[in-house]
């Protein structure tokens, strides 16, 4: 008879839970990709590829370009000074020592300046590499944007809600039947229908009914 109750939106809820499970699985996979991606970037820009050896090579190249020029100018200046001192007859005097001290001082300070510049240039290279690493991170995070993943998951559940089945009551599907009340029930059902329900199925059977169709 009627009055049987049951979960009317069960499928809908199951679908929502499935979407939630999928969203969680997707997020786990996304995080795994993020970790893997970050690890790959860290390794790519790490000490194995961009360690002190790499930067020292750059600095040495810079110095190997600049220092020979300084050395050449130093030699020229030293030769000129030697000649000048010799011409003035001051080669073995304390004045020569003074002039030589000035030359050595200038040479050392100039070399220090060139070495400092090579070092700051190398620092700039480090910053440049770090900037590239940041860009690689940016691209990784853009690729694995959680907002996109969130919207996708939320929309899939929201769209499902738009198409949820009708969960309202079905209304009267069966008319009340009173057994053994032929005359009273007849106006309601019609005598013939009521009688047909009450006909025994077999000569041995009782007066129960079955409804078909």
């Amino acid at each position: 008879m009627g009055g049987k109750s049951g979960p009317s939106n069960n499928q809908m809820v199951q679908f929502q839970m499935e979407q939630a499970r999928k969203a969680e699985q997707k997020e786990n996979l996304r995080q795994a990709r993020l970790d893997q991606g970050k690890g790959a970037i860290d390794e790519l820009f790490g000490p194995d590829n961009f360690g002190d050896e790499f930067f020292n090579k750059y600095k040495d190249a810079s110095l190997n370009y600049a220092l020979p020029q300084l050395e050449g100018q130093y030699d020229t200046a030293k030769s000129g000074m030697t000649a000048d001192l010799a011409r003035a007859g001051l080669l073995r005097s304390s004045s020569a020592g003074y002039a030589q001290g000035l030359l050595e001082n200038q040479n050392a300070v100039n070399e220090g300046g060139l070495r400092a510049k090579a070092d700051t240039d190398t620092a700039a290279l480090r910053q440049s590499i770090a900037s590239q690493q940041q860009q690689a991170y940016n691209q990784l995070y853009q690729t694995e944007d959680p907002t996109v993943a969130a919207n996708t998951a939320a929309n899939s559940a929201a769209n499902a809600q738009l198409t949820q089945p009708n969960t309202g009551a079905l209304g009267d599907m069966f008319k009340p039947i009173v057994i053994g009340l032929g005359s009273a029930a007849a106006p309601v059902y019609g005598a013939s229908q009521a009688n047909s329900y009450l006909n025994p199925k077999s000569p041995m059977g009782s007066g129960s009914y079955t409804q078909t169709g």
Binding site: A20, A23, T120
Partner: protein, 231 residues
Amino acid sequence: MCDPVSMIGLALSVGMAYANYAAQQDMANQQQAANDSWVDYQRRQAADFQRRDEALRKNAEAARTSSLEELAPDKQKKAQENEEARLKEDLSSEDLANMEKGDPNTLASKLLSGQEGAGDYAKTNIQAQIQQAAIEARQRIQALAAVQSYGGSQFGLTNRANSILNASGQDIRLAGNERAGELAAYNVAKAVEPIKIVQHGGQSLGAGAAAGAQIAGGGLGNAMAAGMAST
């Protein structure tokens, strides 16, 4: 009064009412169970989310505090001193360092051609002036090293701080990104509705009871009328 039809109708009415009550009770129980199940689900999801979120937050917090520790004044000072010492050696040649120390071979190599045959006094005087020049040059270079160590050198304070903050920033960003993803996934779980139990054909029970009562009432009336007629 004791018409069997009336009695049957009355019994039917009571039976239908009871069946209706039982069905409603069953539905209420099922709904309660569904609600309990939903609350359990939501509670579990919330707890899982809170646990994961807290773990990620701790990752970010660890990265932040670690960077702050590295940027503490004592560590910054130590780093600056180390960098200054590195630069002091790195910015000057070994030759200059030897001159500064008064290494005789290095100082002798700095003599001009023609000075080798000078007297000891003159040579000593010249070499002393060269050594003094080297000392002064080294002092200037040391000052340069100190300046560089605060700023733009390879491991100077500026670059060191940037490097530390970049590293921790990426860890914090990763944690933040993952937290956002976790929240998004949790929001989907949070949107899961409770199961709503609906009584199918519930009204037919009530209608059945009403019809039964009507029939019983009718039967009872007929019986009473018949009784009155016979008297």
